[in-house]
């Protein structure tokens, strides 16, 4: 069995670059708050929602592995566990979002709500105190549950006691049910209420699929980087192959959800539903919506279809990066037209906040990865994930 694994050492240069990019992101945010408020808050919302999805998606990925008694993923489990460490940072973003409520959400202005019959009837759910309470509640739930699961997993490294696996299976059941349900609600709160008259019942699922695909893509990026650093014996080509399959499947799941929402609204053709797609189907937004499907589904799907590409570090990394950019575009199309109805805007504010958020994400993940063994060394299923190493 594997007993000890050298601690992860990220090259100092990589950390410096990540911190510098993170600082640029923060600077963009601060300068934007003073010079371009209308522009910076939607961008902040994109990055905040993106980061939240990455952290929560990783937690749900770990939970799914426990509940299904999965063997193959045990060796790579520390990567999603480390990604959940971004949730507290996302929670800080959630608190900051409180200051942007009035810029972003139409329903937060009591004068507007008073004149609008529909918003008045929705005000039991869409009001400021309840919105803030829900935002805090979601993060408390997600952080506590993911922390409990990660802590049990780390404790098992010391003595290999099976009780930790059993406890985590139970915790994971709660995490999957509560996490998925609350994330659907959160996407309704944070994104769908940008256009408070509009509603869609698959909106939560659409975001759930986007969240999961972005988490998988981020995991692939981290793992390819670790392989590049020389951990190919722990993060094997087989793991990469399996992740590539999941990435392809969830890319398809995303487009399935996208078509489900789009087709039903197109078919029924009711004004209160089509108001969402009217914006997003013509002019610049129309081209971007088309590009969205190409980036999030067609290109990754064709790239990952052959066996060989899923086993190639280079190709799978390209597919993962395309999916990460595609997920940003997906959120951009959901959020931006609600605020800038006329034409798409793209510039320093969009690039700065997104790059800064990604840099902070990778910095946090690498720091969290260095704290514990890179592989759950005493997990009872590790032998299934790394048969070659475990037998010798």
């Amino acid at each position: 069995m594997i007993n000890s694994i050298p601690n992860l050492r990220i090259p100092a240069k990589v950390n410096r670059i990540l911190l510098a990019l993170g600082a640029i992101g923060l600077l963009t945010l601060i300068v934007g708050l003073f010079t371009a408020q209308e522009r910076i808050w939607p961008n902040f919302l994109i990055s905040f929602f993106y980061l939240t999805g990455l952290g929560l998606g990783a937690g749900i990925f770990v939970a799914i592995q426990y509940v299904s008694n999965t063997g193959w993923s045990v060796a790579i489990r520390r990567v999603p566990e480390a990604i959940t460490a971004t949730l507290p940072f996302a929670a800080v973003g959630g608190l900051a979002l409180i200051f942007g409520i009035h810029t972003l959400y139409e329903w937060s202005h009591t004068t507007v709500v008073a004149q609008d019959e529909i918003l008045t009837s929705k005000s039991a759910w869409l009001n400021e105190p309840f919105f803030i309470a829900r935002t805090i509640g979601y993060f408390v739930l997600w952080i506590v549950l993911s922390r409990v699961i990660v802590r049990n997993s780390v404790k098992q490294d010391a003595n290999g006691d099976v009780k930790y696996t059993k406890r985590n299976v139970r915790n994971s059941v709660f995490f999957i049910i509560l996490g998925i349900y609350t994330f659907c609600l959160a996407s309704v709160d944070w994104l769908m209420s940008l256009q408070p008259h509009w509603y869609s019942t698959v909106f939560g699922w659409l975001n759930l699929s986007g969240m999961f695909i972005s988490t998988l893509a981020a995991m692939v990026v981290v793992i390819v980087f670790l392989r590049h650093l020389g951990y190919k014996h722990l993060f094997t080509t087989e793991h990469l192959h399996d992740l590539g399959r999941m990435m392809m499947a969830f890319s398809f799941f995303w487009v399935y959800m996208w078509v489900s929402q789009h087709m039903l609204i197109w078919y029924s053709n009711i004004p209160e539903e089509t108001s969402y797609y009217i914006f997003r189907h013509f002019g610049g937004w129309g081209s971007l919506s088309f590009l969205n499907v190409i980036l999030n589904w067609l290109i990754p799907f064709l790239m990952l279809l052959p066996r060989a590409t899923k086993r190639s570090d280079k190709v799978i990394l390209q597919a993962a990066v395309i999916l990460l950019i595609g997920h940003w575009l997906d959120l951009y199309i959901m959020i931006m037209p609600a605020i800038f109805g006329a034409d798409p805007v793209f510039g320093i504010w969009e690039i700065g906040t997104f790059v800064g958020m990604m840099a902070v994400f990778f910095w946090v993940v690498f720091r969290a990865l260095g704290k514990h063994n890179l592989v759950p060394v005493k997990d009872p299923y590790l032998v299934e994930s790394l048969p070659e190493l475990s037998h010798s």
């Binding site: 399935y256 078509v259 789009h262 087709m263 078919y267 053709n269 066996r307 048969p387």
Partner: protein, 175 residues
Amino acid sequence: MDAQLFLGVFSNEDDILNATRATNAAGYKIHDVYTPYAVHGLENAMGLKPSRLTWACLAFAATGLMLAVFVQFWIGSIDWPLNVGGKPFNSLPAYLPVIFELTVLIGGLGVVFSMFVKTKLYPGKTEWVPYPGVTNDRFVIALEQRDASFDSGAVQRLWQQFNMLEAKRLAEVTL
């Protein structure tokens, strides 16, 4: 085709994997390896080429896709145009569910039946088991023995390193 098979019987997964790897490396022609369940890594150990079934699957799926597009277009726009909710007769969003289903259905069924044809499986085929325990707890390598230069002694010595239980010759098997 008639051939003689030379069988080596083993009792566990690790032994059969190592024995298969060594046999393949020594250059013997492996007819097949029989195991009670799917053993991971066996296809690499046997040196099998990647399956061509994926191409059959792709071809069937593409057929299904084109069929679905054509059938819906022809019925909805040419043969029997119906006004549904004021939509254009030829509208792609309405076609998507059927396109998806037919692609998956014909791709899935096609690849399964391709496998049946290739492996000569059909209803009522009499089953053939090379060794009685192979459906329970025994792992068997079968070598093809075609010419006089086949040295069964050398093969047995090779297999004995991997805790072989028994070696056996099957004469004149119809494959």
